[in-house]
Symmetry: C2
């Protein structure tokens, strides 16, 4: 059924090559000494028969499945898309496959999935922007299941690996840039408050303000959710203030795009009337006109690195969790102008 029975096993190859199954296994795994003549014979037989290892048998035996689980809130935005690109690239070059689980922000799903994954055939687990970590942290530890949290850092143990960009610094830099451009009424669209990265960016913003003796004005802060629509709504609200902000910093590019729309819809221009800066540097930031000035997170690298950390963990389970932080970088494009005098 499904797969027809043309399955070629190690035994077929052995017979074809006139050797034993263990020799074939050795060749397949490139392990131990096999004389080059034998190896040759086996390789040929494999060719002729079109042999492919049966991963399930192998992992049943050895315990390793060459599969990594990835838990994401969603899959339809380029922030996540870029990270996944890095992840599956790096995974592929290490002969790992990727099992994808999408929670669509339903927290219960998160726990269920973690249970499934840790008990299923994945060797390790990558969690992207998890929101319900406490619920399964213990179970991960109990099973000593290798895992790394991407863009989440409220962890107080030493067995969990985490990885993220310098959120605080990035926000600080962006705000500072705006201030140096002469802006002192700078609106801020917060991301989801339940995410630490969101909080870190907010406090980077505040710190820059303070360092430049600009009093923090809570009315300039709008609580968004990282989505475009809230960026739009937030900016709309901010623009009704008097005086309105001369610049708006959005906690991510997607909401920055919403901010730009809102500004235009008021008949104002970006950046002539209001400057806008985002966070992430998703591909759209460069494609849009005017190009979005933003704080770049090395998304693809984050994915790649997360995999490396996980793989290291897999090879050496006794290693303590790693804490990796990647630098952000201010990317100046066209959405910020000096404040008018």
């Amino acid at each position: 059924m499904g797969k027809p029975d043309n399955t070629v096993t190690i035994i077929d190859v052995a017979r074809e090559a006139g050797v034993s199954n263990s020799t074939v296994s050795r060749v397949v795994n490139n392990s131990a000494q096999v004389s080059s003549r034998t190896r040759e014979k086996v390789l040929n037989a494999m060719m002729r028969l079109g042999y492919v290892v049966n991963q399930q048998a192998r992992s049943l035996r050895g315990g390793r499945s060459q599969v990594v689980g990835l838990l994401v809130p969603d899959v339809g935005n380029s922030y996540i898309g870029e990270i996944i690109r890095g992840i599956d690239d790096e995974l592929a070059s290490n002969q790992y496959d990727l099992m994808l689980y999408t929670t669509h922000r339903r927290k219960t799903k998160e726990s269920t999935y973690v249970a499934t994954i840790t008990r299923g055939m994945a060797d390790g687990l990558l969690l992207l922007l998890p929101t319900n970590v406490a619920a399964y942290m213990e179970s991960l530890q109990a099973r000593q299941f290798p895992h790394v949290l991407i863009d989440y850092q409220r962890v107080d143990n030493n067995w969990t690996s985490t990885l993220q960009a310098t959120n605080w610094q990035g926000a600080y830099d962006a705000t500072k840039y705006l201030i140096e451009l002469g802006h002192c009424r700078i609106g801020y669209i917060v991301g989801l408050r339940e995410m630490q990265c969101s909080l870190d960016r907010l406090s980077g913003y505040r710190a820059a303000l303070e360092d430049h003796a600009i009093p923090f004005d809570p009315t300039l802060v709008y609580d968004g959710d990282y989505f475009l629509l809230e960026g739009y709504r937030g900016a709309t609200k901010l623009l009704e203030l008097s005086p309105p902000p001369t610049a708006i910093f959005a906690a991510n590019d997607t909401s920055a795009l919403g901010v730009i729309e809102a500004i235009r819809n008021r008949g104002l221009s970006v950046p002539n009337d209001v400057s806008v800066i985002g966070f992430d540097d998703i591909p759209e930031a460069a494609q849009v006109h005017p190009g979005l000035t933003t704080v770049r997170q090395p998304l693809e690298d984050m994915g790649r690195l997360a995999v490396r950390v996980l793989l290291k963990q897999l090879t050496n389970p006794d290693l303590p969790g790693e804490r990796v932080e990647l630098s952000t970088e201010l990317i100046v494009r066209e959405t910020c102008h000096p404040a008018k005098a």
Copy 2:
């Protein structure tokens, strides 16, 4: 290593419950008759021990892995995101896991992945917007590997299942709508010509033109690639024509967003100066201002249905391939106005 050896097997449960392993297996699989007393005992033992099936052993034995492979060009856009949402929802409710493979439009990768998947542990394969089908179609058939192609239809065999929306009709409707609004110079931003859906939409556009006695003007057609930037470039070019089009139909929403930008960047307004219509109805279409009028594809349903078709195929491999087509629907929002007299 990795997974510690706290693995509870069916045998542990059997011992704990004082029954045989096969009885446990029966309970686990809900198969055959087991007296309710025994079942109770087994269930309890499973509870106590925290037993979980070992999927690899099960599939090594039985041949079914409860994993479906999904091959996508990319993962960072909401068109694909929505489809995936449908896919993994439906998969989850059928106790299937999803193995994700991203090609990033590299055709060689596509073939490699198909080989991996069909020989690996997936029971079936979903291909989203594949571009290199010819290269592995034979191998899929040779292995009788269950598969369904989503949004691809150039198939001339009867063992392959395909699924897509009514692309031709959708484009026809959109164009007709524009025509009835009084537009007769309607620009068109094509998607990737190598995709059949793209061609279908183009011919729907042409057909509507013809049916309303509007001569087809090739200078009004710009070859894009479904991405925002090409939408922007295309519209920019189209707007330089004299007379410029009074409406632009983009082959997908993402490029429509680019079109809108281009129009605004010329100092024109949507829809007052130029009407815009898209295709897909991705979430952004509703979030943007003005709301994007578009042709809705039931993306999530497409994913869901694709899974159903695949699962049917899995259960009954001798079924011939299915051809599923879902209706598109014109969603009128705010980017189209009657043409000025």
